[in-house]
Amino acid sequence: MAEGEAAAPATTRRLVLRGARDALALPAWVVGFALVGVGSLAQDVGHPLGAAMLSTLLIWAGPAQVVFYGSLAAGVALPLIAAAICLSSIRFLPMTIALMPLLRRPGQGLLAQIAIAHYIAVTVWVESLRRLPRMPAEERLPYYLGFANACLVTTTALTGVGWFLSGTLPAPLASGLLFITPVYFTLALAAGARTAVDVVAIVLGFALAPAFGHLVGRDFDLLLTGLVGGTIAYLVGRARRRRGA
């Protein structure tokens, strides 16, 4: 597909549309259906439809949104909710640092870069890291914006659907919606793994997270898992490169 189109230079419009089309082939629906439950949670705590949908547009992080509405339902104080969300979204720091160098173009201001980074969430990140490095640098941003906006708009709409569905979903179906995120992320990580670093990082992430969850509690377990597992994965990769060189 990409080879066939390589003859004529791809226009911005075509790249945006191609990104949107690739997103609507599966990823946009995955993240969209995964957040149906967030709409239901918002309705449960008495928040209006507009706020539920805005939470997807603004926060754009399923786990943080679940924490937000779940904590409100449990009567947790707002500053404590903010702290919990801050901890749950820490993954965006390494994810943003890893992706932005692929999307940065000469002449982009800081605000434009922050707007670009706002779309970063797991689905967009995994898929972008898989697709963008193979593309010419100047084609990446329009493709990314088409892809990410399709994901964000689909998910915002499905968050609204979830708001209306609150309390009507049978339990097996509700558990199926919650299961979309882990099963899709597992497969997307497996599909995106190219190097020994990726494989070691994935295996250690899976193995260490439950262990650290028990050892240090559920606040700092993700951070610790990322740093310890990521460092080991990096060192394994470097040792292999040294031996190969």
Partner: protein, 121 residues
């Protein structure tokens, strides 16, 4: 009138809470990521390390969702949750790496297991 009110709400409180205590504490990491990544080349060594940390973090998020689930997913036994992921992975490899079929297979397994588990209780 009441229809519109159901959509936008009666007051600003839900929106203010969302922005101050939901959006800002989460967005701060993306903004910090933009600032810290300035001047980094896409082929730089530090990015290999950062990508390894991010990948580990993602796998950790998945493991947490599977081992310590919330809501309706917590009603499904751990063995069924892990079995459904394994089934999805097997379908993914057997269908020559089709994400769609892998996700569908995992979902079918989990919803079937959830139906059986919830019926029996």
């Amino acid at each position: 009138m009441s229809g519109l009110e159901a959509i936008v709400g009666a007051g600003l409180a839900p929106y203010l809470a969302l922005i101050l205590f939901g959006f800002l504490p989460s967005e701060v990491w993306r903004v910090l990521g933009v600032v810290l990544s300035r001047g980094l080349d896409e082929n730089s060594e530090i990015l290999v390390f950062v990508r390894a940390v991010a990948t580990t973090l993602l796998a950790a998020v998945v493991a947490k969702l599977l081992v310590f689930p919330t809501g309706a997913l917590a009603l499904v036994p751990l063995a069924a949750r892990l079995g459904a992921v394994a089934f999805g992975l097997a379908a993914f490899w057997l269908t020559r790496r089709s994400l769609v079929l892998g996700v569908l297979a995992g979902e079918v397994f989990l919803i079937a297991a959830a139906t059986i588990a919830l019926d029996g209780s």
